[in-house]
Symmetry: C2
Subunit: 206 residues, 2 copies
DNA sequence: AATACCGTCACATTAATATGTGATAGGAAT
DNA sequence: ATTCCTATCACATATTAATGTGACGGTATT
């Protein structure tokens, strides 16, 4: 099934696919404004989905399809490999992401791959995807050198414990808790509980 | 360059690669215990890196290579496509991830792809990668129905502002800040600043 | 017109936090 | 042997935060 606003490209793709053994275009549309009904009606194996369409675009269409738990494979098909759309598409459960400049033979291969549970991606996209992964990585930034005891106190702070509760949880005096916390603040360069908690999350200390 | 502990496979790969036009194995090793020196000495374009090796394994080796900013492409080569290793490898900057069962011709193609800046992946791996993306997605959990003003206050709390500071930042009385915060606590089902801050992070409200 | 929020402010009280200044003891490193 | 760090505890004080109760005007919905 095809979603593509450009009539020429839509026809071109239809001819390519219909003209190939084992492939058939069930239907094609110029945007996703009725995507749910259409997919339910035609039950395609694979949907070629353009992103940039007037009206309801490809990303929105993809979301709708996934929200309704329709089990078609969705292969995003677009001119640009801009970071934002790639990420949006992938995190919303696209099954692949290929550029329109893909040669026809390769495109058919990709459709097959998507149909059989693969994840076809143009290599420039795959590279981007990998880059996103390595960027997700912990910034390996400052370690802050929190001692074990300090980490433990911070953990309890994050969990919303008061000083008193921390003291009884750790079997130490409340004043000891205080001094740990003071040390933590120094090490994290903050001066309030909320900042410490926020930093603990941001820097993945906890 | 090859890192592979199994001598048979090491030789087999060497023969395959050396026997192919345009390919050459510079060196091969049975683990990564001296990976940094070796990579610096041979300056390979692409490294085929087994993961499961005694001593310093492939993931560790990859980390070492990236820590030292050596610019070789690293293509992970492994028997299993287990989730944990895939994720570890990718987030540490692997350039590709292929299974050992890949047919020889395809493997050479993958090496080429890696060398030219691509991101070759066995399709089962690519599928996993996509799955990880969609899992990263916000759980679209509870909305908590915070009003605009409440969100703003929460944001400032997260940034470590005191009530007084929030009041002056928002040009409202400190008592108004108090009442906003009380409302926030009710909506988030918490009863302290740190819990609210923690929840704000966990549920990506901010 | 009644209801339900939102956003604003006030007063009062108790609990918790932040900060300063020490002190003691044990372990690790030089 | 000395220094440095961790972990523990104490006392004191000022600031903040949490909670309760109540009020007023505005907007949106029904």
């Amino acid at each position: 099934m095809l979603y593509e606003d450009n009539p020429q490209l839509r026809e071109g793709l239809t001819m390519l696919i219909d003209g190939s053994d084992g492939f058939e275009v069930l239907a094609s549309f110029k945007n996703c404004s009725n995507v749910v009904e259409e997919v339910e009606a035609f039950k395609p194996d694979v949907i070629l989905m353009d992103i940039d369409m007037p009206g309801v675009n490809g990303i929105e269409g993809l979301k709708l399809i996934r929200q309704h738990n329709l089990d078609a494979k969705v292969l995003m098909l677009t001119v640009f490999d801009d970071n934002k759309n790639v990420f949006e598409a992938l995190k919303n459960g696209a099954n692949g992401y290929v550029l329109k400049k893909t040669p026809p033979a390769k495109l058919l291969e990709y459709i097959n791959e998507a149909a059989s549970g693969g994840a076809p991606m143009t290599s420039s996209i795959a590279t981007q995807v990998l880059k996103m992964f390595s960027e997700v990585q912990a910034p390996a930034g400052e370690d802050y050198n929190l001692s074990d005891r300090e980490k433990q106190v911070l953990q309890l702070l994050v969990n919303g414990y008061s000083y008193k509760m921390i003291a009884s949880e750790m079997f130490i005096a409340i004043d000891t808790v205080r001094s740990h916390i003071k040390k933590i603040y120094e090490k994290l360069h903050v001066n309030s509980k909320s900042e410490a908690v926020a930093k603990a999350f941001k820097d993945k200390i906890v």
